[in-house]
Amino acid sequence: MSVKRSFGLATFCVWLVFAHAAASAQQLGPAAAAGAGAVDGASAGSGEFRSLDEEVQSLKEEVLELNRDLFLLEEELLFPANSQVAFFISMDVGEYFALDSVNLKIDGKEVANYLYTERELGALLRGGVHRVHMGNLKVGEHELVAIFTGHGPNVREYRRGATMSFNKGIGAKYLELEITDRASKQQPEFAIKEWE
């Protein structure tokens, strides 16, 4: 090994030793003073904890706000308002039809196939509205085909479709797929309507 290299290595080792000694001295320093300041330390400590706790709380709030902002930004990026289209499902009393699943096709392409659990059905029957699909569409005419599968009167398996052509203009479009009971025919009715 060359002289220069050996000198460099030796210098590095000496530096390491001094650095460790300095760190140990720093640790000893506070420990030595702990006994003398014990009484003051207790009240200062609780004050420190409180301020730390407040800092943590405010950090948590910031994180939640950031999360919310990110979510909104993501939605804005992925589904900008000028091409956004959203489809919602709502149900009436549900005496003549128990919904099992909904299949949506736009211009012949399947965009959603959603299975409903009992809990979700309960929410729909209590007035809930479910956003079954959100996507982007170009301006112009489009065709929506919605196929509802479930159980009809007398617990018979039921499969009904509803078709609608709609015009996508500039701006977001919202369509509601409504399932209602038609008492006069004792059959469910499926309708698609646009939200203004």
Binding site: M1, L115, Y116, T117, E118
Partner: protein
Amino acid sequence: MKRMKVVLLGLLLVAVPGLFAGSSLASSGLAGQEAPDFVLKSASGTNMRLSEYRGKVVMINFWATWCGPCRQEMPLLDDLYTRYERVGFSLLGVNIDDDSSRAMQMAEELGVSFPVLFDERKEVSKLYQVEAMPVTVLVDREGKVRHVHLGYKPGYEEKYLTEIRSLLRE
């Protein structure tokens, strides 16, 4: 030169196990992550969604009618389900056969009482990166994947028992 070789060897000894550890984790890469949500039709006709089981310890067992170890394992899983269901444990048996009628037949033959779900489109098995049969995933009350077991050998049910009891106690 000799010293350089020693240093290089030392670095390799540290780095290589790390590489192998990374690749063995890839097959059970879901551990520690939130269990992907899914909804499937069950043998009883109702639709079942994983997220509605939040708050319970859930075991998801992927199986198929052509899988021999699955036949061995399922009755043992049924015992666990019967024993711990009333204290917050649920078991979802996800079948991946193309024909769900064969799966129903096998479930009836084996006499299992836990819910059997049908993943004919293989969408859920893709979500869970199922590449071998059976695969058993344990999800905690917070919805996080905690254990993943690939395959089945006699004795695995003891591991499942220990893990279920530990998760139920949390």
